[in-house]
């Protein structure tokens, strides 16, 4: 997830960036007031901590679910990992199906929806509050999350709707209705409607306004302050051209550039690590030490653990059900193969990319430690670790990379904007699927949603809508509440698919081509 919301640093940066025109501000204030009073209870409910701790129960909900799926499917993320790679490489693809969407394409598209701000800014927030040790817990949560993704994506393909014109619609709302019916469970329709409503809200908020907001913040960093309406209108026009006008060229340019940016990011991180190869052992020592001692961070070990778990969950969206919508559209004979492919997403997103960010921040010495005790030096409020220039969020990552390569801050600014754009495109699709589930598959209903989506791009960039963004974040996590209930009830179906597939793989009925 490309979001660093819920962090004071992010919202402060966003607020500072929006010295929008007076009109937008008054509109802004009235929307804020209306929203805060009517939705505050919902936001508080979703993000309330366990009594007596600062651990949000929703993060616990995601991690517990990931653990249960990991155990229930017998460490599927490790057992099936080589097979997943084989599927993505196309080893098991029938050459006669060439021209259909490949597993690689499905994975790349789903990844472009999740890799982004969360990997760049979210991780910086995690290590600046939770220390190096947060990285350990983040990796662990990422590894567990692979099982959640596997479960939801398998179900999404199995229970999708195929339309007469050959297109498909799928996602949690379809497995909730069809899967529950098949198992004779009540309440599927209610869950599905709830999920669809939360998805629409999440897509307009976290998947849209927040992205526009952050993109504008980045632009003002580079070009100086200017009204957000300008960014909003330009972004909205481009999004409109892609999702309403079907302008393929822009989408395909983005879809090409985003993976290149991702690869460039990881390569640069690897080069920086290579230049400091002698410190890698030390960095991992810090990560392990921090994970079990806390090294003096606020909240100690628990503080590091909360930050790590939180950022992993926010970054890879495992259990939220969003990626399930993207994967459902892929045509495959075996639903479970999409599950296998999707379990690579949290791995790439969290275990690889997020870890790179964390290692670079640690190795370039951005976090200040006390040479006498080896513990971190906290800031005056005692809430976060002191960093070299007092940076946090994107700025911290940018400073860490720039300390090795000065030009990297420009690359990072471009990357943030492109990531924001590709997330908008992905979430416009998730929102659209939820919308057509509720209001029918007609052209008119789809167009209505797309136009609403574009309007929200402008609103998101033009104003600082703290409460609205809090609410949309809460909506995304509310998706996870509903989705995981359904996953618990439907996981025996996935188990049956898994056993059948694995036995056919063993017997040689499913084999490699070539």
């Amino acid at each position: 997830m490309k979001r660093i919301a819920l962090t004071t640093a992010a919202s402060a940066a966003a607020t500072a960036a929006f010295a929008a025109p007076a009109l937008a501000q008054s509109l802004d204030e009235s929307i804020n007031a209306a929203f805060a009073s009517s939705t505050g209870w919902f936001v508080n409910l979703i993000f309330s901590p366990f009594p007596g701790t600062s651990f949000p129960w929703i993060v616990g909900w995601l991690v517990v679910a990931a653990t249960i799926f990991t155990v229930y499917f017998g460490l599927i993320q490790f057992r099936a990992f080589p097979h997943s790679i084989g599927l993505v490489k196309g080893d098991y693809s029938d050459p006669n199906d060439a021209g259909e969407v490949s597993h690689f394409q499905a994975l790349a598209t789903a990844l472009s929806g999740t890799v982004g701000l969360g990997n760049i800014a979210g991780v910086a927030v995690a290590v600046s509050i939770g220390g190096a040790g947060a990285t350990f817990w983040m990796i662990l949560a990422g590894l567990m999350g692979m099982a959640s993704k596997f479960t939801e994506c398998t179900l999404a393909v199995k229970y999708r709707n195929e339309l007469a014109d050959g297109t498909v619609s799928g996602g949690p709302m379809y497995y909730m209705t069809k899967g529950f019916k098949e198992r004779g469970l009540p309440g599927g329709k209610i869950l599905a409607v709830l999920f669809a409503v939360f998805t629409i809200l999440g897509s307009l908020g976290g998947g849209n306004m927040f992205q526009a907001n952050q993109a504008h913040a980045q632009l003002t960093n580079v070009f100086g302050d200017f009204p957000g309406v300008i960014t909003g209108v330009i972004f909205a026009a481009i999004v409109f051209a892609v999702i309403v006008g079907g302008l393929k060229s822009i989408a395909s340019v983005t879809e090409k550039v985003v993976p290149i940016m991702g690869v460039l990011y990881v390569l640069t991180a690897l080069v920086i690590l290579g230049m400091n190869a002698n410190m890698i052992g030390w960095a991992f020592g810090q990560i392990i030490d921090g994970a079990f001692t806390g090294m003096g961070v606020a909240g100690g070990v628990a503080g590091a653990l909360i930050q790590g778990f939180k950022r992993a969950a926010f970054s890879n969206e495992a259990g939220v059900g969003s990626a399930a919508i993207a994967h459902a559209a892929v045509r495959t004979k075996e639903p479970i193969t999409e599950g296998f492919v999707s379990l690579l997403e949290p791995f790439i997103d969290t275990v690889v990319i997020c870890t790179m960010t964390a290692l670079v921040i640690i190795i370039t010495g951005q976090l200040i430690t006390d040479p006498a005790t080896g513990n971190y030096v906290l800031n005056e409020a005692g809430s976060a670790i002191q960093t070299v220039d007092g940076n946090s969020g994107v700025a911290l990552t940018s400073a860490a990379f720039s300390s090795a390569f000065g030009w990297f801050s420009y690359i990072l600014a471009i990357a943030v904007i492109l990531f924001a754009f590709s997330t908008m495109i992905s979430w416009s699709y998730y929102g659209l699927k939820a919308w057509t589930f509720l209001f029918g598959e007609s052209k008119g209903s789809a167009l209505t949603f797309k136009v609403i989506f574009c309007l929200f791009v402008i609103i998101g960039a033009a104003a600082s809508l703290g409460p609205v963004i809090d609410f949309s974040d809460a909506a995304i996590f509310a998706m996870a509440v509903v989705n995981i209930i359904a996953l618990y009830l439907l996981m025996p179906i996935v188990k049956k698919e898994l056993n059948s597939y694995l036995s056919r793989l063993k017997s040689g009925e499913i084999r490699k081509y070539q």
Partner: protein, 144 residues
């Protein structure tokens, strides 16, 4: 030994000449002709979620369009030639796919037209005819 001749066909003039040439050759060796049309496709091209959703429908559409516009007219045109003609549509990298097909058919030769690719683009990326001439394991005839 089979007397199959594979001819790459995309409907342009040089492809038509290549096909006519292939049919003549087939008459001489009393062989048959496989007319192959390859749609350029990479499994590594990036797609948007919307494109992924529509891909299957589009593929069906592309296949039926190629069949109707290219291959059916060929079959009709050469129905009375006395040479057995079959057609096939494939997706993939053009020269690789043609080589795979020719090998699978056990063809004795592969005939292609010299397409009018621009000088610059063929210098940069290589032409299909040039690639085939260098890499195809069976004899290749390039018809101007």
């Amino acid at each position: 030994m089979s007397n199959t001749i594979v001819v790459a066909y995309d409907g342009n003039d040089s492809a038509k000449r290549a096909l006519a040439f292939a049919v003549e050759r087939a008459k001489v060796i009393s062989g048959n002709v496989v007319v192959a049309h390859v749609l350029e496709w990479s499994p590594y091209k990036f797609l948007t979620p919307q494109e992924i959703e529509e891909r299957h429908a589009r593929r069906q559409d592309e296949l039926s369009r190629a069949e109707a516009a290219l291959l059916t007219p060929v079959k009709e045109e050469y129905a009375s030639s006395g040479v057995p003609i079959s057609t096939v549509i494939k997706y993939g990298h053009v020269s690789e796919t043609l080589i795979k097909l020719a090998t699978a058919e056990g063809a004795v030769q592969l005939i292609i037209g010299r397409t009018g690719e621009g000088a610059l683009s063929s210098r940069l990326f290589g032409s299909v005819a040039g690639t085939l001439a260098q890499t195809c394991p069976i004899p290749v005839t390039i018809v101007p």
